[in-house]
């Protein structure tokens, strides 16, 4: 199946009366105004609903706002907030603020990348973990900090990484 067929098919699944709930459609309905300034709020809302921006969601946003898809994609890839892969079962955020840097967050990030074999912004093949670098979590007192799906882990070191990941793997049903 080539990319276009895939897009079409996915579009039909979501557009039509398939069993998949049309979360993107619901978001679009919440934005009746169609000015270009609605683009970023719309993408934020779509990501909020779906966890990431799929190609199909972005093209539907483009159609909704009568914008060329290239513009939507160009905007989406400009900002840190938007991700293009589904989040993993556990979403790992590594703080790269100044305080965390001074306490060694670079080595921590490297250890996570090695252990998960993904780059920031990506999700592991098994969908278990996704990795993200954030500017600051706001817990500078606990630096360096890693947040896993909202749970904060302070004072992290590279050698604690495998244990941390295993703990979450075990917690997965």
């Amino acid at each position: 199946m080539d990319a276009v067929q895939e897009v079409n098919q996915r579009g039909q699944e979501q557009d039509g009366s398939g069993t998949v709930p049309d979360r993107v459609g619901e978001v679009l309905r919440r934005f009746p105004t169609r000015g270009r300034d609605a683009l970023i709020p719309l993408l934020q809302a779509v990501q909020e609903a779906e966890g990431y921006l799929s190609q199909d969601a972005m093209t539907r946003v483009a159609r909704h706002l009568s914008l060329p898809p290239s513009k939507v994609y160009g905007v989406a890839t400009f900002y840190n907030q938007f991700r293009f892969q589904p989040k993993g079962r556990w979403h790992i955020q590594v703080c790269r603020g100044t305080a965390c840097h001074v306490k060694g967050s670079a080595a921590l990030l490297q250890a996570l990348q090695r252990a998960l074999k993904v780059e920031p912004g990506q999700t592991t093949r098994d969908g278990m973990f996704s990795l993200e670098v954030v500017a600051c979590i706001g817990a500078c007192g606990l630096a360096p900090v890693v947040a896993v799906s909202g749970e904060c882990h302070g004072g992290m070191t590279p050698d604690r990484v495998p244990g941390l990941l295993n703990a979450y793997r075990r917690r997965t049903p």
Binding site: F78, G97, C136
Partner: protein, 656 residues
């Protein structure tokens, strides 16, 4: 009324408050004194019930304030105490988070911190019993007349963190409940705006601000009054005010604290600025990473709209103002005016050349003023006390106060506000309490990725726009990171360069390509010989030379302020710490021990017993030696991981 406003009781309605603000409440109305009384009560000079204040800003929550809060509620319930629990914003003493204040009827308010969940019974319980543990108390608030202060607990004004501060912008942060409009009103918020639109023309307001000497607090330091006048005089029916709350510097959180702790002060500032430039629409562009601030801002806007201080025909004076919130999607460059405007318009946040300046051609081509949070939050007090009072504080070129986020290797990290012109030394040593752990000060980094380093020898530099520029730094938005001798200046420059090159918008060539090359040079300097390939060695030597040349061209030619200031962290460290760069390059040494690749591990043959622990642990097999004979590390194989040093029980592994 849809319920975002609290009730007043005592026969007072929000309509009465509106009339009071508009100056139309009849003088003989009994409601005037009743309202005054209610407001006094809300100022909590005294309380009728024990009242506990918990700091639940983002930093407080990060330190565990939510669990502390639950424990306090449980404690009150358990003991059957009829007390009030008030959530307040951040007072700025981050080192002591989570912070809890206790105020008993007739007694002054005491602050404790840190108060973790487990400390609640011992600290708060005792305080409620009237025997506050003096060793856990930080300070007590000033006691108004008729209120008894506590023995043996220092006044807030005597506490070293607050003694040298002058808190205008942060006056009510951490003191009031940020979600209560009544408390904000009790502290005088919105009264200035109401008076301004009743008695002053926009041009007069612009003049007053110009006379005050207020300069933009976002980094550039452009005179606010001048910017406003340009927008006021620019032809056009539709004008916009934009509040820049897209605080992107790593290590800066001043704006977040203001929005979380005192959102109505910011809104009042926005309303004043909008009135002064003739804007009927204002946007607050705020980071999406600040969910609490966004929520509080939304709530404050709803409240202000219901009260009628924003909206159509404000207080019957024919002024219209709509305030909208736009959440930034994460791009440091959107702190730049034109990039921010593009972002609001739903475009890629790439700056455009100026002129035309936004004051004449901004949002959707209309005249637009962009001010940052701190600038706007200065306005209510500025206009309340007048330009002269404002200008009385500060230096000849820099008036008023400046808020800094003090962090790094300093005893009391936190949010501080000092008069312009205060020497750095006072900020670091008096307010910040100096360097912890017996270390000594090496430098402070001010202004974030756009700023620069100031060495310990220049600690008498006053914090004002010109002086900081003079030593190669800049005010920036107010990040102030303290560093001791365990910080490597090359590594620090590398950190900021990495940040900048990731955050560069990619539009202009010098910034996009140049910052990337500068980062690569710094990476080469800090790389071990083992990882060198090709012409790396030669390029290390050329490094410093090219860093300066590249930095100069990037400063000279970049399109926007981000690019023009991008080389600052490198150039300023190079200016003050050149010998440290040279050590990295020529001696391959990092004196701070931060650049791990440059560390040389060796085994002291005299001490080594040949236990083989290190050789077994070495991940690359770099350690040779027969059992019970001294071991040896093969330098070419060693990756500098330090495992051997951890493994060795007799400290025979040395590092240099």
């Amino acid at each position: 009324m849809n319920g975002s406003l609290e009730e007043w009781g005592n026969g007072i309605s929000w309509g009465d408050v509106r009339a009071w603000l508009a100056g139309t409440l009849p003088a003989e109305s009994p409601k005037g004194p009743r309202l005054e009384g209610a407001l006094r009560e809300l100022r909590r000079e005294d309380v009728v019930r024990p009242t506990i204040f918990v700091g639940t800003g983002t930093c407080g929550l990060g330190a565990g304030a939510d669990r502390t809060l639950q424990a306090i509620r449980a404690l009150l319930a358990e003991r059957g105490i009829d007390g009030d629990v008030v959530e307040v914003g951040c007072i700025g003493l981050c080192a002591a988070e989570p912070m809890v204040d206790v105020q008993l009827p007739g007694r002054s308010r005491i602050s404790f911190g840190p108060v973790l969940e487990a400390d609640v019974p011992a600290v708060i319980g005792a305080a409620l019993d009237g025997i506050p543990p003096g060793d856990r108390a930080l300070y007590q608030f000033a006691a108004p007349e008729g209120i008894q202060s506590w023995e043996g607990i220092p006044r807030q004004s005597e506490h070293p963190f607050f003694r040298s501060q002058l808190r205008f912008v942060l006056r009510d942060c951490g003191v009031i409940h940020p979600e209560s409009l009544r408390e904000a009103l009790a502290r005088g918020t919105w009264a200035t705006y109401a008076r301004v639109i009743r008695t002053r023309t926009p041009a007069e307001v612009c003049d007053e601000v110009a006379r005050s000497g207020l300069r933009g607090r976002g980094g550039g330091g452009f005179p606010t009054g001048t910017k406003w006048k340009a927008a006021l005089e620019a032809p056009g029916d539709q004008k916009y005010l934009v509040c820049n709350a897209d605080e992107g510097d790593p290590g800066a959180f001043m704006d977040r604290a203001v929005v979380e702790g005192d959102p109505h002060r910011l809104l009042e500032g926005i309303a004043i600025a909008a009135y002064a430039i003739g804007a009927r629409k204002a946007y607050v562009y705020i980071r999406a990473e600040y969910p609490l601030a966004v929520a509080r801002l939304h709530r404050a806007i709803d409240q202000a709209r219901e009260l009628g201080v924003i909206g159509h025909d404000v207080l019957g004076h024919g002024v219209d103002l709509d305030v909208m919130v736009k959440q930034g999607a994460g791009a440091f460059v959107c702190g730049e005016e034109t990039a921010l405007l593009h972002s609001i318009e739903g475009r890629r946040g790439m700056p455009r050349p100026r002129p035309p300046y936004p004051a004449t051609r901004g949002l959707w081509g209309r005249p637009t003023v962009i001010n940052n949070v701190e600038t706007l939050a200065n306005l209510p007090m500025l206009l309340q006390n007048g330009a002269e009072a404002f200008a009385a504080v500060g230096t000849s070129g820099s008036k008023g106060t400046k808020v800094f986020a003090l962090s790094g290797k300093v005893v009391r990290t936190g949010l501080v506000e000092v008069a312009m012109g205060t020497p750095l030394r006072e900020v670091v040593f008096d307010i910040g309490g100096g360097i912890p752990g017996g270390h000594s000060l090496k430098a402070v980094q001010i202004g974030g990725p756009s700023g620069g380093c100031i060495p310990a020898s220049h600690m008498d530099t006053p914090v004002d726009y010109e002086s900081l520029k003079g030593v190669g730094a800049m005010m920036g938005s107010g990040g102030l990171v303290v560093m001791d001798e365990t910080t490597c200046m090359v590594d620090l420059a590398k950190f900021f360069m990495d940040f900048i090159q990731r955050e560069s918008c990619g539009k202009c060539i010098p910034c996009r390509e140049g910052t990337r090359r500068m980062l690569e040079i710094l990476q080469r300097i800090t790389r071990s010989r083992r990882n060198e390939t090709g012409t790396d060695t030669l390029q290390r030597f050329q490094g410093v030379m090219y860093l300066e040349r590249l930095g100069g061209v990037i400063q000279d030619t970049s399109l926007c302020g981000l690019g023009q200031s991008a080389p600052n962290p490198v150039l300023s460290t190079l200016r003050w710490f050149r010998e440290e760069y040279e050590e990295h390059i020529f001696d391959r040494k990092c004196r701070a021990g931060v650049c791990t690749e440059l560390l040389q591990y060796a085994i002291d043959a005299d001490r080594c017993t040949g236990c083989t622990r290190c050789a077994k642990a070495c991940p690359t097999g770099a350690i040779l030696g027969a059992p019970r004979a001294p071991h040896y590390i093969v330098p070419d194989k060693c990756i500098g991981c330090g495992t051997c040093r951890v493994e060795c029980r007799i400290g025979a592994v040395t590092v240099a």
